[in-house]
């Protein structure tokens, strides 16, 4: 699989008066062409910040301190003069170049379909705005036709293009947002909690539409969600984040069926299901650490049932698993023996 996006040692901190919040701390992963990656974790673990960093939408007091975000097609947006010496790193692009990436190459579906749209503009016009910015030379009639086409693709009747957001139901609004993200044929779509605010039946319909569209356009997707069952429905790869770190990464089945990291194991056990036998649910004791001064060593050690001495002092590096990696000292011990 061709690697489309590669993130290496990304660090995004937010500088506050009481110290820097290490929202994303040394995160690395890859996204292949046509791959759907699920990014899961509790609130405040850095999932959204990771993706906003990819879009370079981190604003003051936030700062991308270190790392590189390599995007395969980054050269397409650069001016023709000095292409040879420059890398594919998104973080090195000028603001003007980055604007050409956003929406055109990497698009984002924002959280909260209910509030993500401008209430005083028709949805067709809002979708067309994306086209106007990235392809101003296209005649208006053709743009409108493309808006109508994309609305039909996501499953909204073309007659609704002249409706205002409040005239659409929650599911339709979410579909319109997906249309907005897809209209420029991006390579990568980042979806931030795309179905969280929807009812289960609508949620299932939108998820199904998303899955079909992803196959149709062979999109690469990053799906951010706290709901592991949503990830189980649509994703191929799964990354689990905890307190700014990526603790486990691997194929969906592997992470779900044979989770390596103690946090992943507990998270999956805490998830109630309506299928299968009624199991005794367990909760993870304790609370998420304060990211201004995270605990020494592994971030999870104060809550970890399998904590060892080394966890308290040294930060675990990534150890390879069957088809991914896990950041936990348990797996080093196994290798030595």
């Amino acid at each position: 699989m061709m690697v489309l996006l590669e993130i290496n040692n990304l660090k995004t901190y937010f500088h506050t008066r009481s110290g820097s919040v290490k929202a994303v701390d040394d995160v690395s992963f890859k996204l292949g062409k046509g791959e759907v990656l699920g990014l899961a974790g509790e609130s405040g673990c850095g999932k959204t910040t990771t993706c906003l960093s990819i879009m370079r939408m981190i604003d003051n007091p936030g700062e991308i301190l270190e790392g590189e975000i390599l995007y395969e097609n980054a050269k397409e947006v650069m001016g023709s003069s000095d292409n040879t010496e420059r890398t594919n790193n998104i973080l090195d692009l000028t603001d003007a170049e980055m604007r050409r990436i956003r929406g055109n190459h990497i698009a984002m579906i924002f959280q909260g379909a209910m509030n993500a749209m401008n209430p005083v503009h028709r949805i067709g016009d809002q979708i067309m705005e994306v086209l106007k910015i990235h392809e101003p030379e296209v005649p208006k009639e053709e743009m409108w036709q493309r808006v109508i086409d994309i609305l039909e693709v996501v499953g909204i009747d073309s007659s609704r293009a002249r409706d205002y957001p409040h005239q659409l139901s929650g599911g339709q609004k979410q579909r319109a947002l997906i249309a907005m993200a897809l209209i420029n044929n991006p390579d990568i779509v980042i979806a931030d909690e795309p179905v969280t605010a929807l009812d289960v039946i609508v949620q299932a319909q939108v998820l199904k539409a998303t899955k079909e569209l992803q196959k149709k356009f062979n999109l690469s997707m990053i799906m951010i969600t706290h709901d592991l069952s949503v990830i189980a429905e649509v994703c191929e790869t799964l990354a689990i984040m905890y307190a700014g770190k990526m603790v486990e990464y691997g194929k969906l089945r592997t992470v779900f069926k044979e989770p390596s990291h103690p946090y992943t194991q507990l998270l999956i056990e805490a998830f109630p299901s309506i299928v299968g036998p009624l199991k005794e649910l367990k909760d993870i004791g304790g609370d998420v650490p304060d990211l201004r001064n995270p605990p020494l060593g592994c971030n999870f050690h104060p809550r970890c049932p399998k904590v060892m001495d080394i966890c308290r002092t040294e930060e675990p590096p990534s150890f390879a698993t069957k088809d991914g990696f896990v950041a936990c000292w348990l797996y080093e011990v196994k290798k030595e023996k």
Binding site: S169, I201, A204, E233, F256, A270, F271, P272, L278, I284
Partner: protein
Amino acid sequence: MKMTKSNEPVIDAIHVSKLFPVMKGIIEGLFKRSEQKYVHAVDDISITIQAGETFGLVGESGCGKSTTGMLLLQLLNRTSGTILYKGMDVASSFTWPGYISLILNVHFFMPIGYGLSYIFRSKESRDSLKSVINKSKEEARIYKENLDDKEVLDRIKNLRREIQIIFQNPYDSLSPRFNVMDIVAEPLRLLKVYPSEAEVEQRVLKELDSVGLVPPEDFINRFPHELSGGQRQRVGVARAFTVDPEFIVADEPVSMLDVSVRVGILRTMNKLSKERGTAFLFITHDLALARVMCNQIAVMYLGRIVEQGPTEEILHNPLHPYTKALIAAVPKPDPDAHRTEDLPIVGEVPSGIDIAPGCRFNPRCIYAIEECSQIDPQLETVKKDYYVACIRYKEINKIK
């Protein structure tokens, strides 16, 4: 109703409805003559909850589950039906502000409207307005009588102690200016449960301890912003349990919380309700949570209960077409359970104002036949404690 004292249900709601009138604008009200429309938020539902039982109410947003909770709490006055609390009818709450607004309406706003109707309206509409005013005057008189009746007021005040609520959002339902001690002690102080402040404090400490905020001494001086989401909701649980209620409505108590802390809160609530024999109404949109918490659930659709019965049976073998769709739509946390087939439902939830004639689910139902748009199905007994409202449930599920 003949029942022995011991197995008398804590809450018994019989054919309860709540209609919200749809407001018209002033201009529309003056010039257009149209029938008054209503949102059928809760339409003819009956619920019985025994002491120590946890009853689950599930459904999509807008199906009336929260309104039902509000009605049982007497926070909303019902339009029709009876709600018996421990066998006693508690009609509605009577307050002075409520009386004043009623009086203002009858003696001020309504006469103005009546006067204006001389200019804009015909004689018939004026007469109908007159009868509405007379009816409202009669209502105001009854309201005043109840308000003067000390016994009624005492009963209602007592009710406020015995019925409690746990709110959905622990970030908004705790006052940011109160510390934990004041938040949990407030109902005790307001209802004057204990004569001395020392006893109140002791009770608060005990309650914090039992919801898992240990050691409680560390928490009493903290403010809500110093607590995590899970801890806040534990404070909310402690506040509800502190006055020894007989009945608690928990309206989506964990939907704002992370998965890793949800289970702990649910278990705490379960433990406390079992220990103290509190009846629980658990309102949730999440069937998986209802499965963890409740023995009995009722599935609501557009203000009606469509299926009611033991949780495990409904989840494994739903009888009503809507329940079937709802269960099929729930994503499963299992990569092998990939869903391929289409959901057995069409369209989207219609508005609660103009409800389709017949079965209100028939426009979306894949099994709907001609009769479904004519007959409004009532809950039928399938077996003991299992009810379904569908005229074709036997056919669909091949039950003899």
